[in-house]
């Protein structure tokens, strides 16, 4: 993404903030929608559009779990593993998905590049535990290992979203 594209996104909201620095996070989230992660060029574009160095922008981006500084799979699947979900079978869902996608028990990206599986900290859907979130779509649940696998299969088969909101 280039600086003009970033500017087109943040210029309409610039007046809402007393300091331009506040635009960095909205700009990063928007820049990420293009490829699903942030490249060097994206960080430079955000820096140019907001008036900060690419190094500073990266220091901000690196703090947040949902900003990706390395390529991911086409879809990022966040499996909640916090206590409420654990008590309802999150570990069994997690183990099954990791095994099926052929990634380590720490998560990772499937060989076909379609799916990244990652552990998530409490997603706030404990009433539907165990729950899973695809990118930043509405979190779903409850899942069994089998229904979670079907959920991932459906994501794999579906066309990629136009914008990667994560």
């Amino acid at each position: 993404m280039n600086a003009d594209q970033v500017r087109a996104h943040i210029d309409p909201i610039r007046h809402e903030y007393a300091e331009a620095r506040s635009l960095i996070l909205p700009a990063l989230k928007f820049a990420q929608t293009e490829k699903g992660h942030l490249t060097r060029e994206d960080l430079e574009a955000v820096g140019e559009a907001t008036g900060f160095s690419a190094a500073y922008v990266e220091s901000v981006a690196s703090f947040y779990d949902r900003l990706y500084l390395a390529p991911t799979g086409a879809r990022v699947v966040s499996v909640c593993v916090t206590l409420s979900c654990m008590l309802r079978g999150a570990d069994e869902v997690w183990d099954h998905l990791c095994e099926r996608e052929g990634v380590s028990h720490h998560g990772g990206t499937s060989e076909d590049g379609r799916i990244t599986i990652q552990e998530a900290q409490c997603l706030g859907y404990c009433d539907r535990a165990p729950c899973i979130q695809a990118d930043a779509e509405e979190t779903k649940g409850p899942f069994t290992p089998g229904s979670a696998a079907a959920f991932v299969d459906a994501l794999r088969a579906a066309p990629d979203p136009h914008e990667f909101w994560r």
């Binding site: 007393a18 900003l67 206590l83 998530a120 409490c122 779509e137 509405e138």
Partner: protein, 433 residues
Amino acid sequence: MPILNSVYRHREAGHVLTELVAYRAAGGFAAIEQSIGEMEPDDLLYVFHRSGLRGRGGAGFPMGRKASFLPKDAKLAKYVVCNADESEPGTFKDREIIEMNPFQLIEGMVLAGYAIGADRGYIYIRGEYEHQARVLDAALIAAREAGFLGDNILRSDFSYDITLYRGAGAYICGEETGLLESLEGKRGQPRLKPPFPAVAGLYSSPTLINNVETLSALPPIVTQGADWYAALGPEKSPGTKIFSVSGHVQRPGNYEVVLGETTLRELIYEHAGGLREGHQVKAVWVGGSSVPVLGAMHLDTPLDYESLNAAGTFLGSGGCIVMDDSGCIVRATLRLASFYRHESCGKCTPCREGTNWMERILQRMVDGEGRMEDLELLESLFGRISGKVLCALADGAVAPVASAIKMFREDFVAAVTDGGTPRPAPMSVVEVR
């Protein structure tokens, strides 16, 4: 079904209020009409104060008092910030309010803004709540079109708008100064306090920060009166509280109760449908995971700030996680320790290193590599973490570990002597009705 004594209009109405007309029909925006341009801001502030409303995000600080700390100087820019970074494990009440009743939050923020003379309000919502953020986006547009936000609200002299700001995945941004840093476009690492946000908050300006549930309680307090709210529940901390109940219960969900009138047992067994046949309560984290754990002997504790303090814990966020006797307290404690290790922002060494050590020691106990001296080693860490850091995350990390070792010591000893703890079968999804 409408709920008696509900403060939140969608619960009272028994259906979602995401359309502005539906919210109006349920009595919405009457508080704005009654107060903006009609009441002195200070009088409105006094209504908040007299209601006795305490912050529902976790710390429980009296809302009206917090708002009164802001300087009165009209020349200073002032802000209202709504903390919608709901990330405390086991807590999903703010999600419900936003999803089902976004206008009540907006109305509450307008009232708070008028009372303190704010220039703008911000809602900081966690990045994972993108779906809820879109509900709020639509509600903000509708409120603006109807004249409840923007220039000269209801033709008064008061102009005020709300900006929705999306986080990007960091528990620590629920800590108020971490939130402000994030909102200012920085890494979300907490600040040294004082100065408190009421004096120097967003952009170093006086800022009132409150949780979704707190701000959403303001409209009915205005329409029904501070006396009505103050009369609900105990004198020192009145009102209703939404408890999010999860874990080993038959009906996980949000339940709003009048403080002091419901016991923990009633919350679990009557509201949340109780446990599976043949199981007993083993452990309950009643106020989110950052509080000392309770056991079966605490079930008759009334749910209010003072009673829960007397039982050795905190009401916190009201995220009530229940574990029955099929669960393993050592594994549950490890899971929470892992959460805090992951979410420690790294700014303060005692927290960054301490959360890491707590997780490692508990992990080796679970894996069968624990040593008897590990219990003392763990206990020796607590005092080196708590009170030696900038924010409450570290205390929150220590509380569930320290309390579990104290209350269930024999389970931790057994993990060492038995060579670890097997993973228990979870409550399976087919058992969910």
